[in-house]
């Protein structure tokens, strides 16, 4: 088995330290950072994504693999930057104002990062002003608005409206999610996408940035 295949397998196992050590070894052996990413880490995380989508593995398995991937990417990040490699796109995400629930949003961030996106995580209790500031600063491809509560889901609509009023709506795609959120709600407030879980969110965002 080549070292790149071994890296894939370690990602699939969710072996954080093992993946990092193997990536460091690959760097020492002179294997290019882009190859490590594209032929080692990505095949592993893609396999995990497929297994998760087929309900073959549990969330903690996915998270361990994602963590193994993300820590290893940090190892090769300086080399990737030096080689001119860029993330496939940028996402700004947060939990909307009035809502402190961040578990779903954190899962989305982790899975988006594992899909090759740069993720700017604004945190929780985020109002329109902070989203607008982040859109202007980071020029993301997509933004994500998470709300767990029926009492806070209205805030998603307010943020979209504020972004429209600021004239930034056409620059980004807006994704919404959270327990009470549905496709009908997304349609009503003018979001571009509703995804039911973190894996779907990462898939939708990746698909959009790759094909836009």
């Amino acid at each position: 088995m080549s070292i790149l295949n071994e890296i894939s397998e370690l990602v699939i196992e969710g072996n954080i330290e093992g993946t990092k050590a193997k990536v460091e070894l690959a760097v020492e052996q002179g294997i290019g950072a882009v190859s490590i990413l594209d032929e080692g880490l990505m095949p592993g995380i893609n396999e995990i994504g497929e297994r998760f989508a087929k309900f073959e593995i549990f969330v903690p398995n996915v998270l361990m693999s994602a963590k193994a991937m993300n820590i290893s990417v940090e190892v090769i990040q300086p080399l990737l930057t030096a080689s001119g490699a860029k993330p496939i796109g940028t996402a700004v995400i947060g939990t909307v104002k009035g809502d402190l629930h961040d578990i779903g949003k954190n899962l989305v961030a982790l899975m988006m990062k594992s899909s090759g996106l740069e993720v700017i995580d604004l945190g929780s209790d985020i109002g329109a002003d902070k989203y607008i500031e982040a859109i202007e600063k980071y020029e993301p491809d997509v933004i994500g608005l998470s709300a767990l509560l029926t009492t806070t889901m209205n805030e998603q609509g307010r943020i979209i409206k504020a972004i429209e009023e600021k004239g930034l709506r056409d620059k980004i795609k807006i994704m919404v999610g959270g327990a009470p959120v549905t496709q009908a709600w997304a349609d009503k407030i003018g979001a571009d996408a509703f995804t039911a879980d973190a894996a779907d969110a990462a898939r939708w965002a990746k698909n959009y940035v790759v094909n836009k």
Binding site: F55, N154, A179
Partner: protein, 484 residues
């Protein structure tokens, strides 16, 4: 009739361990409370407060003082005066409430959409007629027909006009709380009268672990100041924001609710409170939040025993509900399995009547069916008393079975109406069932719905008070609605 059958899921040692750890948690780790006025007052009352980080810790003395001031008996009043709720229930029963927090409404025709204000009218009209449903929540009306900034005040206006039973209120914004209180006060002739006979109580929720955001802290603070009952609530999700184990989630939910009760009692000693732990779990494969996980049902039993037995504080949790999106077999298995366990718990209140889809949808048809289910559950809670009268000892010894037979005996005449008889269930055999159209339970519930909906209203608010409520609504609209 007193409650006779109880599931004690914890041993005495386990119960004491939970109590001890819960108090230790509040003393050593403390809570995060986003409310400066409340932090200041609680600091003056002896809590250890860091105003900068908004962290608050309790002392053992304060906890004991607070627990001692929780009223052991109190009444939640009804707008009609016909369904006042005395705690503890004089007959050992539990009280039943409708579901809260569902944004969706499934119509009698099975269509599901965001709840409309017109459907709130229908909901209360049906719920008023449910004899086994004791109090109501506010349906989570969507912002399609009423302003999104003020859906709670608009929905309460409907509730105060139409609901004959006690109302449990979920505010949607911190600044709305004042208007909700003013509106309830207007419906009874003033704040003093509302305090004397509270026809509303409030929900305030924690965010696990041990966080209290501004809006919910405001609810606690305002209710403490106004002397209005609170059913402080924790809605953790096992494996997501609380430990994956049912025990760990029960522990955290109970601790968060307990902290709210301690704060309320320190701010307003003697305030009626009901510890409300509404537990969920995350499905570790789909990440979907579940209500009907079996272990979580047992976690609810832990919470009920902890508060009722451990502190003599009235406790409240889900009694029915499902993760199913339809009125199907999964739905019925989950909700009847849940209620049979919870009916045997120490709970004083069981909720969720009418809900589907993990509490995200309400359905009048499901409400009508739940009314039957709760009737059965209350009968189970009552248990069976053993004495010679109930044994039929005298008639057995007198040989009544041979003449005239039990069907006409005095003992039968005395007791035959005591059995619970669900009125929509098939009790007549195949030929009668076919003769009556071979209806399923759901079809019978639809039929019952059409009868109930035609009945005249059982309650409406006095026109003068209704006008006063409307005035508060106008003020609230002006103050709260950002886009006039």
């Amino acid at each position: 009739m007193k409650s006779r059958i109880k599931y004690d899921v914890m041993t005495k040692d386990e119960l004491n361990h939970m109590k001890s750890r819960m108090e230790e948690l509040l003393i050593k780790r403390g809570i995060h409370l986003d409310h400066d006025e409340m932090l200041t007052e609680l600091s003056e009352l002896g809590c250890i407060v860091d105003m900068e980080t908004k962290q608050l810790k309790f002392t053992k003395e304060l906890i004991d003082k607070a627990v001692a001031s929780v009223p052991k008996e109190f009444t939640l009043y009804s707008p009609s005066g016909k369904r006042d709720l005395k705690f503890p229930h004089p007959e050992g029963k539990f009280y039943v409430r409708t579901n809260t927090g569902a944004p969706n409404y499934m119509t009698v025709d099975g269509e599901t959409h965001f709840t409309k204000i017109s459907e709130v009218n229908e909901w209360y009209h049906i719920a008023n007629q449910m004899e086994n449903v004791d109090y109501f929540t506010l349906p989570s009306t969507s912002g399609e027909e009423v302003p999104g900034d003020a859906v709670d005040v608009y929905t309460l206006e409907r509730a105060l006009n139409l609901a004959e039973k006690h109302i449990w209120l979920q505010p949607y914004e911190g600044e709305n709380v004042k208007y909700l209180i003013d509106m309830a006060a207007a419906s009874v002739g003033g704040l003093d009268k509302l305090r004397e006979r509270p026809i509303v109580s409030f929900i305030a929720c924690s965010v696990s672990c041990l966080n209290y955001k501004r809006m919910d802290a405001e609810i606690l603070y305002r209710c403490a100041k106004a002397g209005l009952p609170v059913q402080p609530c924790s809605l953790p999700t096992a494996g997501a924001n609380t430990p994956v184990t049912a025990q760990g989630t029960a522990f955290m939910a109970a601790s968060e609710v307990f902290a709210m009760i301690v704060m309320l009692q320190l701010l307003s000693p003697g305030l009626p409170v009901i510890a409300t732990t509404l537990l969920f779990s995350m499905d570790m494969m789909t990440t979907y939040t579940l209500q009907s996980n079996t272990e979580i049902t047992m976690a609810r039993l832990i919470c009920m025993q902890l508060f009722e037995q451990g502190y003599n504080i009235r406790a409240h949790s889900y009694g029915t509900g499902t993760d199913s999106l339809a009125i199907d077999e999964q739905n019925m298995i989950e909700r009847t399995s849940l209620i049979h366990s919870m009916a045997m718990s120490d709970a004083s209140v069981l909720g969720g009547a009418g809900q589907l889809e993990t509490a995200k949808t309400i359905s009048p048809i499901q409400l009508i069916i739940d009314n039957e289910i709760f009737g059965i559950a209350q009968r189970l809670r009552a248990g069976l008393e053993i004495n010679d009268d109930y044994l039929g000892w005298n008639e057995i010894m007198d040989g009544v079975d041979t003449n005239p037979g039990f069907i006409m005996s005095d003992h039968t005449m005395k007791h035959f109406e005591e059995s619970h008889r669900p009125d929509m269930f098939n009790r007549g055999g195949l030929s009668k069932w076919e003769e009556n159209g071979s209806k399923t339970l759901q079809e019978s519930a639809v039929e019952k719905y059409h009868k109930l909906i035609k009945n005249p209203a059982t309650y409406s608010l006095d026109p003068e008070k209704s006008a006063a409520v409307k005035e508060v609504l106008k003020k609230a609209h002006k103050a709260l609605v950002k886009e006039q």
